[in-house]
C-alpha cells in the first residue's frame, strides 16, 4: 500500500458518469430533455429559423388566417405570427431563466445565512420576508412597476426579489436541519466563515429540495411574466412575448380561432417538460448511493 500513490482511481470520470446517468434516465425525463433542448435551439437560433423578422409587418391584412405564406396567420398589426412565436421563445425563456436564477441565488444564500447565523439576525430576516410574502404578489409587482417604470431589468428584479422569499423559506428550514449536524459544528470549530459553511457544507445537502422548488418556481415565474404582459405592464411592445401575444390577439377567440392559444400552449408545454427533468434530477440527487 505504501507505494500505491498513483493507484488509478476506481471512480469513473465526470463524462462517463454523465453518459451513464443519461442512459439510465426514465422516459419522462428523456422526453422533457428533448423538449427543453428544442425550445433552447429555437430560442438561440430564432433569427435563422423564423421566416420573417420579429417586428416586421409582412401583410396588410391583420388577423389573417393560416396560409402557406403565413403558417399561423398574422397578428393584429399584420406581423407573421409564427415568427413572433419563435422570437417570443427567446425573450420569454431568457427573462424567466434569469429571474429564476437570481431569485434562487438570492433566496438560498440569505436562507442559509439566516439559519447559520441564528438569533436576532435570523429573526429580523425572517420577519422581513414574512412581511414581503404577506403582500399579494401581482398587486405588489404592479405597484412597483408603475412607480419605477416598466423596463425589463425592473421586471426581472422585482419578480426575482419576490420569488426569492419562497426560496428563503425553504432553504432556511432545510438548512436548520443540517446546521445541527456535527460536520457543520466541526467547520465552525475549524474557523470557517459562515459563507464558506453555507456554500460548501450546507448547500450540497439541501440541493435536492431546492432543485424541486427551482423547477416549480421557474414555471410560476413564467406564468407571472405572461400574466403581467397580458395586463400590459410586462414586456413592452414591439418585443414579442408569449403572454402579450395572447392578449393582443385575444379578439380572435370571438371568431372561433385558436391561434392565440398556441403561445399559451407553448408555455404549458415547456412547464411540463421542465418539471419532468427536474423530477428526475431530484430523484437522483436525493439518492446518495445511486450515483456510483
Amino acid at each position: 500500500m505504501n507505494d500505491s500513490i498513483a493507484t488509478p482511481s476506481a471512480i469513473p470520470g465526470r463524462l462517463t458518469r454523465a453518459r451513464r446517468a443519461l442512459a439510465g434516465a426514465p422516459l419522462t425525463a428523456r422526453f422533457g430533455m428533448v423538449v427543453v433542448l428544442a425550445y433552447v435551439i429555437v430560442a438561440v437560433f430564432a433569427p435563422f429559423i423564423a421566416p420573417y423578422g420579429e417586428v416586421e409587418v409582412v401583410s396588410r391584412v391583420p388577423f389573417d388566417a393560416w396560409s402557406a405564406a403565413h403558417p399561423l396567420g398574422t397578428d393584429q398589426l399584420g406581423r407573421d405570427f409564427l415568427s413572433r412565436l419563435i422570437f417570443g421563445a427567446r425573450n420569454s425563456i431568457s427573462i424567466a431563466l434569469a429571474t429564476t436564477l437570481i431569485s434562487f441565488a438570492l433566496g438560498c444564500l440569505t436562507g442559509m445565512f439566516s439559519a447559520l447565523a441564528g438569533g436576532i439576525v435570523d429573526q429580523v430576516l425572517s420577519r422581513f420576508v414574512d412581511a414581503l410574502m404577506s403582500v399579494p404578489d401581482l398587486i405588489f409587482i404592479l405597484m412597483i412597476l408603475s412607480i419605477f417604470g416598466s423596463s425589463v431589468p425592473n421586471l426581472i428584479l422585482i419578480i426575482a426579489v419576490l420569488t426569492s422569499t419562497r426560496f428563503f423559506r425553504i432553504s432556511r428550514a432545510a438548512a436548520l436541519n443540517i446546521t445541527s449536524l456535527d460536520f457543520v459544528e466541526a467547520a465552525k470549530v475549524r474557523g470557517e466563515t459562515l459563507l464558506w459553511i453555507a456554500v460548501h457544507e450546507v448547500f450540497p445537502n439541501i440541493l435536492p429540495l431546492m432543485l424541486s422548488e427551482l423547477g416549480m418556481r421557474f414555471c410560476f415565474i413564467f406564468l407571472s411574466i405572461a400574466a403581467l404582459s397580458f395586463l400590459g405592464v410586462g414586456i413592452q411592445p414591439p418585443t414579442a412575448e408569449w403572454g402579450s401575444m395572447v392578449r393582443d390577439n385575444a379578439a380572435l377567440f370571438s371568431m372561433g380561432d385558436i391561434t392565440p392559444l398556441i403561445p399559451a400552449a407553448s408555455i404549458a408545454f415547456l412547464a411540463i417538460a421542465v418539471n419532468f427533468v427536474v423530477d428526475w434530477l431530484l430523484s437522483r440527487a436525493s439518492g446518495l448511493q445511486d450515483e456510483v
Binding site: I5, S9, I11, F183, A186, V189, Q289
Partner: protein, 541 residues
C-alpha cells in the same frame, strides 16, 4: 417433525443464502447458514459488523431488507417455511409468532404517540385481543420488566422515559402476543453500562418466565456470555463455529473465534502509551461551570492535561462529559471558572479564538456519519484543513493528503470516495485524518469508538496510541467504556451529574478503594465468564 419431545423446535434455518445488490451484481451476504432453536433456548449470534448477523435475524421474521433476495434455503418457524410464502402471507406472523427488538428503541418508537398505543397495536390488530385485555397484559409485562409505575407507564410518550426504560418497553411490545421467538438485535449496545445491566436482567427474566426462544444478536461477547445458551459465530455470512456457551467461552475451537476472544481483552500496546511526560500542562481548567438555562451541566470542574498525554473522561450519558468537550473546543461558553491553554487564557468562544489557536485544538466526533459531510469526497474533507491552516494547494496538498491517508491506514484510492461508500471504521479514520491534518496539539475525542465493533475499535485505538507516540498529540478522550479507559488512558477523570467524583492516574482509579460511583461503574461492566449476571441477580435478591 417430532413435536412431542419436551422442547420442540421453534425455528429451523436450513442452508439459508441471501444475496444483496451491489454495483449491478448480486453478492452473497449470507452463505448457507443452518441454525436451529428450541423452545426456551437463547442463541447468541456474534461476529463483526457486516458478518450478516442482522440479516439472519431479520430472515427469521421472513423479512429481507430492500435490495436483498433469497438465493436458497428455508426458514421454518414452527414447521412453516416462511420463505415459501408470499410476503402478504408472512406478515401476519410478525408480532404474533415472532417479534423483533431493535437496537435503538429511540428510533423504533414513534415520538408522536403514547407508549401504550404503540405497544398494544399489534396485539389488538393481529393478535385478536380486545384493547382492555391488551392493556392489562402490557401492564403485567411492564411489571415483569421492572418498569416504574407499571399501570401508569404506558401513558407516557417515548421522550418522557429513559433510554433503558424505552428499550424495556420495546421488549414488552415484542412479548405482547406471547411469540414463540424473539429476535434481539443488539438491544443494549446503545446503552450505558449501568443501564445495560438493568435491561439485561429484565430480558433474562422475561425469557425465563415466558419460555420463549430467542436469537440474541450482539458484538459484545461478555453480554452474550450472560444471556445465551448457545453461540453461533459468524464471519462473512457463514457460521464458523456453533457451541454451547460454556464450551465456546472456555475453549473456542475455530481460529477466528479465538481471535475474536483475543481482541475482547483490549490490549493496546500500552508500553507506547504509558509514562508520558506530564511535566508541562497543555490545558488546565479551574473551577469551571457551565449551564443550559437554569440547569447547571458542569459544576466546579478542575483538571489539567499535559502535552502528549491521554486523559480519559468517563461517565454515563448526562454526566456532562460531552459538554466539557464542547467548552474546551469553544462551542459552549462556561458560566464561571477559568480555562488556560499552553500558559495563556483560552478565549471562551470559537469566534474569539485566532485561527492559529483553532488549529491547535481539534475535535473528533462519536458518529462519523454526521461528522463527515455526505456530499463531499474524502479528498475535500481532509484537504480543507490543509488549505485553511497550512495554505497548501495543488500538488503539495495532494502529497500531504496521501501521507495522511497512509497515516490513518487508509488506501489512497479512497480519496475519491464519499463517506457513504466507506465502512464505519474507515469513516472514523477519515475523521481522524481530518483532525490530524491541522497538526494539532490536543484532540478532543468524543466517544469516537463507541459506534465501532470490537475488532475495529481495537485497531483504531492502537492507531491513535501509535500516532500519539509519533506526533506527541494529547487526547482528551471522552468515553463511557471502561475497557477503553483501561486500554489507553494515562489519567482518568470520573464524572457524575456534572461533577468530577474522582480523578487520578489509571492505576489509582482502577485500584481499590474506589469512590462509590466509580465502584458502581466498574461493577456494571459485564465479565466474559458466564454467570456474572446470575451473581448480580442473586446479590440483588
Amino acid at each position: 417433525m417430532t413435536q412431542d419431545i419436551p422442547s420442540p423446535l421453534v425455528l429451523e434455518i436450513e442452508n439459508l443464502s441471501i444475496e444483496a445488490r451491489a454495483n449491478d451484481s448480486w453478492s452473497g451476504i449470507v452463505n448457507g447458514v443452518s441454525l436451529s432453536l428450541r423452545r426456551g433456548e437463547v442463541l447468541g449470534l456474534v461476529g463483526e459488523s457486516g458478518a450478516g448477523k442482522s440479516t439472519i435475524g431479520l430472515a427469521a421474521l421472513g423479512y429481507l431488507r430492500p435490495g436483498a433476495r433469497v438465493a436458497g434455503g428455508a426458514v421454518r418457524l414452527e414447521g412453516q417455511d416462511l420463505l415459501a410464502l408470499p410476503e402478504a402471507a408472512r406478515r401476519p406472523f410478525r408480532g404474533t409468532k415472532v417479534a423483533y427488538v431493535a437496537q435503538s428503541a429511540q428510533a423504533a418508537f414513534n415520538p408522536a404517540h403514547r407508549l401504550m398505543d404503540q405497544i398494544v397495536m399489534v396485539a389488538v390488530e393481529r393478535g385478536g385481543m380486545t384493547r382492555a385485555a391488551a392493556e392489562e397484559r402490557a401492564v403485567s409485562l411492564f411489571a415483569a420488566l421492572q418498569l416504574p409505575e407499571p399501570d401508569r407507564f404506558g401513558r407516557r410518550y417515548p421522550h418522557q422515559v429513559s433510554g433503558g426504560q424505552l428499550q424495556r418497553a420495546m421488549v414488552a411490545m415484542a412479548m405482547m402476543c406471547n411469540p414463540a421467538l424473539i429476535v434481539f438485535d443488539e438491544p443494549t449496545t446503545a446503552l450505558d453500562v449501568t443501564t445495560q445491566v438493568e435491561v439485561l436482567i429484565s430480558i433474562r427474566r422475561v425469557i425465563e418466565e415466558f419460555g420463549v426462544a430467542a436469537i440474541y444478536i450482539t458484538h459484545d461477547l461478555s453480554v452474550v456470555a450472560q444471556i445465551a445458551h448457545r453461540v453461533a459465530v459468524l464471519r462473512y455470512g457463514a457460521v464458523v463455529e456453533t457451541a454451547p456457551i460454556g464450551r465456546i467461552m472456555a475453549a473456542p475451537e475455530h481460529p477466528y473465534t479465538r481471535s475474536l476472544w483475543a481482541v475482547h481483552e483490549l490490549s493496546v500496546s500500552h508500553e507506547a502509551a504509558a509514562g508520558h511526560d506530564t511535566g508541562e500542562a497543555l490545558l488546565s481548567l479551574e473551577n469551571l461551570s457551565a449551564r443550559y438555562g437554569d440547569f447547571e451541566v458542569l459544576s466546579d470542574i478542575s483538571l489539567t492535561l499535559g502535552r502528549g498525554e491521554t486523559l480519559a473522561v468517563v461517565g454515563e450519558s448526562g454526566s456532562g462529559k460531552s459538554t466539557l468537550g464542547r467548552v474546551i473546543t469553544g462551542l459552549k461558553a462556561p458560566s464561571a471558572g477559568r480555562a488556560r491553554y499552553a500558559g495563556a487564557a483560552l478565549p471562551e468562544r470559537v469566534s474569539r479564538r485566532p485561527k492559529a489557536l483553532l488549529r491547535r485544538i481539534q475535535i473528533i466526533y462519536q458518529s462519523a456519519d454526521t461528522a463527515l459531510n455526505p456530499r463531499q469526497t474524502v479528498r475535500k474533507i481532509i484537504g480543507r484543513p490543509l488549505a485553511l491552516y497550512h495554505g497548501l494547494r495543488g500538488r503539495a496538498r495532494e502529497a500531504r493528503l496521501m501521507e495522511l491517508l497512509r497515516l490513518v491506514e487508509l488506501d489512497p484510492a479512497h480519496a475519491d470516495r464519499t463517506p457513504g461508500q466507506l465502512s464505519g471504521g474507515q469513516k472514523q479514520r477519515v475523521a481522524i485524518a481530518r483532525a490530524l491534518a491541522a497538526e494539532p496539539e490536543l484532540i478532543v475525542c468524543d466517544e469516537i469508538t463507541s459506534a465501532l465493533d470490537k475488532v475495529v475499535q481495537a485497531e483504531v485505538l492502537r492507531m491513535l496510541m501509535d500516532l500519539q507516540a509519533r506526533l506527541g498529540v494529547a487526547f482528551f478522550f471522552i468515553t463511557h467504556d471502561i475497557e477503553v479507559v483501561r486500554a489507553i488512558a494515562d489519567r482518568v477523570v470520573v464524572m457524575e451529574r456534572g461533577r468530577i467524583v474522582e480523578q487520578g492516574s489509571r492505576a489509582q482509579i482502577f485500584a481499590p478503594p474506589h469512590a462509590p460511583y466509580t465502584e458502581t461503574l466498574l461493577a456494571s461492566v459485564p465479565e466474559m465468564a458466564p454467570g456474572w449476571l446470575d451473581r448480580i441477580i442473586a446479590a440483588r435478591a
